[in-house]
Structure formats: C-alpha cells, structure tokens
Symmetry: C2
Subunit: 213 residues, 2 copies
DNA sequence: ACCTGAACACCGTTCAAGT
DNA sequence: ACCTGAACACCGTTCAAGT
C-alpha cells in the first residue's frame, strides 16, 4: 500500500547538514502544531505546509499520519524518561523520590498536555505496531519500577509484586494528570500553583498507599 | 452562526411516539457509532446517514458536532452515576463500598471505552460551555464524595478535606481505566479477568491510602 | 532516492430553498 | 418548525510523473 518507512532510522540521526532530513523537520513541525492547536486540529497537510513541501511528501518518510504521530509520541516518552531519570539522580531519599517522580509526571502533563494525549490516546490506534514507541514507554515505566524496588529494599514500601505497586503509582499520577488536563477539576484548581499543590498532596497519599502496614 | 439548540430540552423527554424526535435518534446513533468505530472514526455525516436524514439535518438540533458529542457524554455520566448509586445501595460497609465504586468505575471504562473517551477527552474542547454535561459529571463525583464522607464518619478514612481524598480516589481509578483502555498494560493484562483482578488489587491499595495512619 | 501535481473519497458547516 | 440540496473549504491517501 505504501512505499514508506525505509530510511526512518537514518532520519533520527541528528546530522547537522542544513537542509535535508525532512523526516526530522516533519516531526518537529508536528510537535509544534500539536502544542499550538491541540491533538484535534492537527493535520498532516498543515504539517507539510509548515515544512514547505507538498502534501504528498510526508508519505515518503512515514507510512501514514499515525506513523508520524507515533514518532512524536516516542519522543515524548523519551523526554519524560529523561526528566524522571533526572529526578532519580537529584532526590535520593526513596520515599521522596517516588513522590517527586509523581510531581514530575504531572508537571510534564501540564507543560505539554497535547503531547501527553498523543502518547496515550487513540490517535495511535495500535501501539503494538510501533515497537520503538512501545520501547520508549517501557523505559519510562522501568524507571518507576526501579524506584519502587529501591523503596522496598529501604523498607519504605511494602513487600510484594513491584509491578502491582508501580501500576498503582502510575495510575494515580496518570489519572490526576488526565483530570487536570481535561479540565475536570477546573472549578477548584485554576492556576499552576493550585495544580502543583494538589499534585503534592495527592502524591503524599501515594506514599501512604505504598507504605508497609 | 447557527439556528440550533432550540428544542434540545424536549428532545431528552422520552415520548414514545414512534417516528419523530430526531435529536434522540441522533444521540443513539452517535453512541452506537462511537462504540463501533471509536472516537476517531466518528463522523457527523455518518450519524446523519444512519438516522436516514440529510447531512444538514443534525444542525437543526445541535449547534455542532461537538454539541452532539456533549449530549452523548452527558448520557455517559448519567449512566455512570446510576451504576455508582447502585453500588452504594448494595454494599453498605464503607470500606468495601469505596473499593467497589472503584471496581465499578473501571468496569464501566472497560465496557464502554470510547464512551469514556468522549466523556473526558478533547473532543469536547470547552466543557464549561455545556452546563448540563458539567452537572452530570458533578453528580457522579458527588457520589464519591458522599461515600468518602461516610467512611470518614465510620472511622475508616482519615480525617481532613474530603475533596482531596476524593480526587485521590478518582485519579487512581480514572488513571487505571485510562491505562487499560489505551492498551498501556497489554503485555500483562490480556483479558477481562486479568483486568478485573488488577482493578481489585489496585483498589485495595486505595483503601490503604485512605486509611487513618 | 526523493518529491510534486492532480485526483479520489471523504469531512464539518452554511445557506438558500422547500414544505 | 423542520428538513433537503448544493456548495465551500478543508481532510488523508494514492499514483503517475518528474528529477
């Protein structure tokens, strides 16, 4: 059906030859457009226009609109993982580390709401068919698992299946992010300070939920 | 811009005159279409086709595609609230009640994933402009607040701001629902039994998070 | 190998016109 | 009051054709 996705790999290599590398340019334009107009208004044709190429050009580099979005989502997970790794380096107390990972997650969501939606939403229907995207997501999740395992060893988290505890923590911060981003809490939290305060309180309860009984 | 949304109110009244009441028919067709094809593929023109009217006809009853989706979302919240009210009637132990509310929430999400997305997602950009939708959402959230207040009185939940605790609980079950629906946990949870078991375990941790320390 | 131009089958929305 | 037909400005995707 398509003759695309051949040189996808090379495209991710940051060769600074000013000009070529349309794939990279398309990913950047898409990221900007999503941030500006939201995941709904996003269109492949507009991305092509911004990259100053014909509307058919993207199809040489990406099999479909979804494939381009998958590349955008993948970059999002990579950035999220980087922020999380940074938190893990900076805060060393295992209890506070988990809380701060949660705060960082919510912070990412509030800073890039549309990006988050692409990373998780139905725009990318079948995540299985984008293995590098899956891998990037797994890397971020892996950092959470590691933090929890450490907290268990330090005696701050209950023993038992670390994956279950990680899903608990992830669900909590992901849910809070979603509710905030979707405007579901708008009557009580109006600005970023409110949101940050709420994130801090909710992640405190996370600590309790994880604690040994 | 539009001459719509005049007889919206009457449209919700279930008068069983077989034939008229296009608004009702459009809402039902939209709900079915969303369930069948997902929130992405949904189109107003297809809804019109299924209701056997012209593509312009919906605009007499709904100001826009978004307004029709808002009606669909509102119905979703109403159904969710009904299920929650049912749980509150059936299980009377305050601790188990909160857990079961969570399980019911996740159950709703798994049974109607696309409906949930419309209820929370960006398809309805400005929820403030659909007051009846907001009200329906608030009703469901109110049931959770009530359950938590009761648990506090019974000494099963820590004292303090019930709204904060409710946001904690809601975030958790909403986040778990989202992760499940978006396929983010697909490598570990493959069928509904897995999902139900996970929901049960995660909501047990919810109990701990809410418990007095 | 990489891109353009033109085309196809769709959209959401509007507006005159019908009854 | 309620709906149709035709139109406008958009989409995603394909495919021949250019270099």
């Amino acid at each position: 059906m398509a003759r695309a996705t051949r040189r996808r790999e090379r495209a991710r290599g940051a060769e600074a030859d000013g000009g070529g590398d349309l794939a990279r340019k398309l990913i950047d334009a898409a990221t900007t457009l999503i941030a500006e107009r939201g995941p709904q208004a996003f269109s492949l044709r507009e991305v092509a226009r911004r990259a100053r190429v014909s509307e058919a050009a993207p199809y040489w580099h990406f099999a479909s609109k979804e494939a381009l979005l998958a590349a955008v989502a993948e970059q999002g997970f990579t950035e999220l993982a980087a922020t999380m790794a940074d938190v893990r380096r900076r805060v060393r107390d295992p209890r506070r580390q988990i809380q701060q990972l949660g705060v960082a997650y919510v912070g990412f969501a509030l800073a890039r709401p549309s990006h988050l939606r692409i990373m998780f939403g139905p725009e990318i229907a079948d995540k299985t068919s984008h293995p590098t995207l899956r891998a990037a997501g797994a890397r971020a999740f892996g950092l959470l698992i590691a933090a929890i395992t450490e907290a268990q060893r330090a005696g701050y988290a209950r023993r038992g299946n670390a994956w279950n505890l990680a899903v608990f923590a992830w669900s909590l911060v992901h849910g809070l992010s979603a509710l905030l981003v979707d405007g579901q809490l708008r009557d009580r939290v109006r600005n970023r300070r409110d949101a940050a305060a709420l994130a801090s309180r909710v992640t405190k309860l996370l600590e309790t939920g994880l604690a040994p009984r």
